[in-house]
Each structure stands twice: as C-alpha cells, then as structure tokens.
C-alpha cells in the first residue's frame, strides 16, 4: 500500500517538529551536554517519536527504563508499562509492533537470556523493534557487572546487532537505528548494545540534536508483511503448516523464510553504511599490528595505542560498529597489511576474535585477547602488553599490582 502523506514539518502534541531525519542528525545544530549513558537514552527517545515503551527492571538498564517512564509522564511516549518479566516484555513488544507501533525497550544480561525465544520471533516476524542491551554478566554466580557474552547469542537471532562505544554513539545510533531498521527492505529488530556501567553509568559530553525536533512517526504501511493480519503468518503461528505439517513444501517455505530474514540483514548493510558513515572506523591500518575491537574495548585500545606510540611502537585500530550486518569485506580490506591482529574483549568466549578469524585470510595472524570478564576492567596496559608480546618485546606483568 502507498505510504501515508509525509508528516515532515508538522508538529506533534509536545510541539516538536517532525523533521527530515537526515537533516536532524547531520545538519541541525548540536548542543554539548554532560550526561550519563542512561540519561542519553532518555534524550534520544524524547526525539524518537516512540509509540510504546515496555520496561522491566534489571541492572544496569533499570535507570534508563525508569527515565523513559518520566518521558511518558511528560507526554513524549504513547504508552508505557512494566511487564511481568523480560519474556513478557519482549512478547508485549511484539504485540505492539504487530499492531503498527514504533516500539522501544531495554534489557540486560540474564534478562536478555530469559527473553531470548522472542528475538528470532521478532526477526522472523519482521518487527523493527529497538532494544537497548546494556551488557552484563549472565552466568552463575550472579554478577551485575559488565560482560559482553550475551552479544554472542544475539548475533544468531536474525536481529541487527550494533555495538556502541560511547554515549555519543548511543545517542546517535538510537535515532539512526530506527531509520535503518524501519526501511521496508530491512524491517528487522535492532539490538543496540553497549557495555553496561562503562557507558550507562558514566558521564560524558554528548552533542544533542535540538529538543524541538523529532523523527517522523513510523509508517506501518511500508512494512514488508501485512500489519496485524490474524489470518496469515507471521501473526498467525499455530495451526499453520510451518509448525504442524510435515512435508517438503512446509520445510522449504520455512527455510526460505529464514533466508529472507538474513537477506534483510544483508540489505541493512547499505543503509547502515550511509547512516553510520561505514560499518567500521579505522586508524593507521598500514601498521604491522592492528587492534580490532568493539564497544568499550575500543576506548581502552585507544589508550593502549597512545601509550605504545609514546614508546615508538605504531599500532593501528579497527572499531567494529555493526556486528550484524557483519563488516567482513571492510575488515578484510583493513587488515590486509597487518602481521598481527589483536582482539581484546570483555567476555570469556572471544566471539569477536572468532568472527574475525572466520573472515580474513591467514587467520593465524589473529591473537584472541586479552580477555576480561565478570566485571573486570581492561587496563590499557594489558592490551599494550599483548602487542609487545606478539612483537617479541618483553612486557611487565600486571598480575602483581598492589602486591
């Protein structure tokens, strides 16, 4: 069906002007502001023309969820409520998105894992829900501290998965994320991840777009599937042949359906490149040693690279911004001169190093680590030490600090 008449230039009930998103994000005057990551989430959602936000408390996203409750009280969000659990929240998000709403939610760690069944369902149903994931530990014994292991599970769901380094990334990518995920050829949910506490609970200078500008509302008539059609998949799930029948056609249809979801992830590539100015950022990629990182590990790597430069050791940097779509071609190009590729991560599994290894030729160049997890910080010194080790330079151990 044809889209609705453009609302650009009209005002919403709060007096904000629906603005061309490209102009709003790239040309409008910005105001430097000193905010925590959680406050930045609130300020982005204030400008996102969200219809529905559904919340459930779990550290470290609880503050952001509560702040968005304030936005609802102020009249910036159509509806807001607390679900019974993370599983309920994600199911309720699906219901709202099926009904044609722009939906936002936040979760973290065990909450992400508890709700996991919903994420491939969102992707399969082509629901462009945005979910902030403020990553934290997921395993027993309980930890509320930063750890990015949950991202490795999200990467196989069919969702778009982006990994923000800073509060500024967070602010911009929340708004740009809706523009990418709501494209009719994409129309997939977005998991916008950050490292909990490091981004959510620290204050940083963030350049905000004008508060009297907001994104145009979601247009459900551009959806690639019928909106809330109770007779057809994806809304009608049970009693249908994909689930209940055993024959070649059912299997082939379901297989094609899955392929279409991943095709949509691929299609998001060109939109993400446009909005994020590339899927990766690079610095000095003609050096022998490169650090490839995402999230907070990028910030720590910058510090390590500056320390090494003081010692006359040149190291390049690749910041991976999107994990789905995976920037394989970009990483192959950026790493083609590197003899050693260091991949520091805030998780025990080393999922980013695995992805990089699966992407590039001569992958013995990849050094998976250093790894920290369970809430440990990653001192730049241990990244610098890893670089020195691969270069055959003796590096002091940090293990005895404080002894």
């Amino acid at each position: 069906m044809a889209g609705q008449p453009s609302p650009i230039g009209q005002k919403n009930k709060k007096g904000q002007v629906y603005t061309d998103p490209w102009k709003m994000m790239n040309e409008a005057e910005r105001t430097p502001s000193f905010f925590t990551g959680s406050e930045v989430i609130k300020e982005a959602i204030r400008r996102a023309s969200c219809d529905v936000m559904i919340a459930y408390p779990i550290t470290p996203q609880s503050e952001a969820a509560a702040l968005i409750g304030e936005l609802f009280a102020e009249g910036y969000i159509g509806d807001y409520f607390r679900g019974e659990s993370e599983f309920a929240v994600m199911s309720q998000c699906a219901g709202a998105a099926f009904g044609g709403a722009r939906v936002f939610t936040t979760t973290a760690g065990p909450g992400t894992m508890r709700a996991m069944e919903n994420f491939p369902m969102w992707a399969g149903a082509r629901l462009p829900i945005q979910m902030i994931v403020t990553c934290r530990g997921i395993n027993s014994p309980l930890s509320i501290q930063p750890d990015t292991l949950e991202i490795s599970y999200l990467m196989q769901t069919g969702m778009l998965v982006w990994h923000a380094e800073t509060a500024q990334d967070f602010y911009d990518w929340i708004l740009k994320g809706y523009m990418v995920s709501e494209e009719p050829d994409v129309h997939l949910p977005l998991a916008l991840c950050c490292d909990g506490f490091f981004v959510t609970h620290t204050k940083d200078m963030v350049d905000l777009t004008p508060v009297d500008m907001c994104l145009p509302p979601y247009d459900p008539y551009r959806s690639p599937v019928p909106c809330m059609d109770m007779e057809c998949p994806p809304v009608r799930m049970m009693r249908d042949p994909f689930v209940m029948k055993s024959n070649y056609i059912s299997y082939a249809t379901h297989a094609s359906w899955q392929q279409e979801v991943w095709a949509a992830v691929e299609r998001s590539r060109k939109h993400a490149i446009r909005w994020l100015d590339g899927l990766i950022d690079t610095e000095n990629t003609d050096t022998d040693v490169l650090v490839v990182a995402s999230g907070t590990a990028v910030s720590q790597s910058r510090e390590a690279i500056a320390m090494l430069e003081d010692e006359g050791i040149q190291v390049g940097l690749v910041k991976v911004k999107t994990l789905r779509p995976w920037p394989g071609e970009e990483i192959r190009e950026a790493t083609k001169h590197a003899k050693h590729i260091i991949v520091p991560e805030f998780n025990v599994a080393g999922w980013l190093a695995r992805e990089v290894k699966a992407t590039i030729p001569n992958n013995e160049r990849v050094h998976a680590g250093p790894h920290v997890c369970g809430g440990m910080t990653m001192p730049p010194e241990i990244i610098a030490a890893e670089v020195k080790t691969v270069l055959g330079i003796k590096a002091p151990s940090l293990a005895g600090r404080g002894g």
């Binding site: 069906m1 044809a2 082509r126 494209e183 009719p184 050829d185 129309h187 551009r222 959806s223 690639p224 599937v225 019928p226 059609d229 007779e231 057809c232 998949p233 009608r236 249908d240 042949p241 994909f242 029948k245 056609i249 059912s250 082939a252 249809t253 297989a255 094609s256 359906w257 392929q259 279409e260 991943w262 095709a263 949509a264 691929e266 299609r267 060109k270 071609e329």
Partner: protein, 203 residues
C-alpha cells in the same frame, strides 16, 4: 562487494541461496536491476516487455495491495495492472496465452491451493508448474511474501520472474523495478505496445 552471481531462471537448487546473501544489491531510486546488475529503469522496462512478448504463458500475479481498494492509489494501480494485462493479451500471438492469476492473500492453504485460480507465496511453484508459466510479474505483493515466492520459483522452476515493487525492489527476481506507481505500470504497457511484432514469439 563484487559478485559473479547472476539471478537467472532455474531450477537452481534444492534450496537456492537468497540473492542478497550472494552479494546482489538492490537498486537505488531511479534505477532497476536485471539479473542482479543495476540498469536504468528504461532498460528494465524494455527487457520486461521483451520477456512478456517472448513467453508462452506471460502472467501477472497481482497481490493484495492492488487487489483491494485500500485507497485511491491502489485503485489506480489496479486499473493500470488490468491495462497491462489487456495490452499483453492483445500483443501476443494466438499460440501464446496471457494470464492474470491473483495472490489474494497469504494464508497457507492445505492440502493445496487450486493452481487454476490462484497463487500462494508458500508454494508458488505449484501454480507455475500447473499453468506452464514461463514469465511472470509480481505486483502489489508485500515484499516479504514476494521474496519468498521469487526465491522458491527460482529454486524449482524455469520461470522468468519480474517484480514491480512499490518499495525498494527485489533482488530475488530476475528483473525488478522499484517505487512502482500506476504511471510506471502504464509505461511498461507502452513498452509492450511499442515492441509488439518486433520480438520473436516462442518456438
């Protein structure tokens, strides 16, 4: 990413890959694609007209977005589709059989649909096989369902697929035009009329 993959008539594979996963990218506004290569919209219009005129059973599959009068635009588009069908019918030889078979909805229907009267996105190959359709055009079908159909058709049939898409186009079709309007559908009909008699009919 450069790719050597071409989106061509099948049967391609037991489970063919999506064209997007093989590196085929959708055209930007004002462009179209033929076999995954970006071309001008006019080139695609001409090629689509040639496919209709050289097929034994050129067929249009209109979907719910043009079959139902949701709004004025949908009604105009439906009239344009009907005009295109009539134009093809008038332009082909008596040995060719133009068809207009609707995809009225996406409900899975079992044990199976009646391929004489409809096509379904979950098993479009049944309609293609039954009617021996060798060139078809999707119009007014939601993008997700169109992509399902186009890939299944490429996987299991030798039918040439054309997608007249109101949004960003379809890389799983052999030829796709994007941002479809009633005017664009009428322009395609003009191309069919213009090429009438100049394209050899099927042997």
């Amino acid at each position: 990413m450069p790719t050597s993959y071409k989106v061509l008539p099948g049967p391609e594979h037991f489970l063919p890959p999506s064209a997007a996963s093989m590196g085929i990218r959708l055209p930007d506004p004002g462009q179209a694609h033929i076999h995954g290569t970006i071309v001008t919209e006019e080139e695609a219009m001409e090629q689509a007209a040639r496919q209709f005129l050289s097929a034994k059973v050129p067929t249009i599959f209109p979907g719910p977005l043009v079959l139902w009068a949701w709004n004025e635009k949908a009604a105009h588009k439906a009239k344009a589709v009907r005009h295109l069908y009539e134009t093809i019918k008038e332009s082909v030889t008596p040995s060719q059989q133009a068809m207009l078979i609707p995809m009225p909805d996406y409900r899975p229907k079992y044990p199976k649909i009646n391929p004489e009267i409809e096509i379904n996105p979950n098993h479009p190959n049944l309609t293609i096989w039954h009617n021996k359709i060798d060139a078809c055009m999707f119009v007014g079908v939601h993008c997700h369902q169109a992509n399902l159909s186009l890939k299944i058709i490429r996987g299991g049939t030798n039918c040439y697929t054309i997608a007249m898409c109101a949004q960003a186009g379809h890389e799983d079709a052999m030829l796709s035009i994007r941002d479809a309007t009633a005017d664009k559908i009428l322009r395609l009909a003009d191309w069919v009329k213009k090429l009438k008699g100049s394209v050899p009919p099927p042997a």
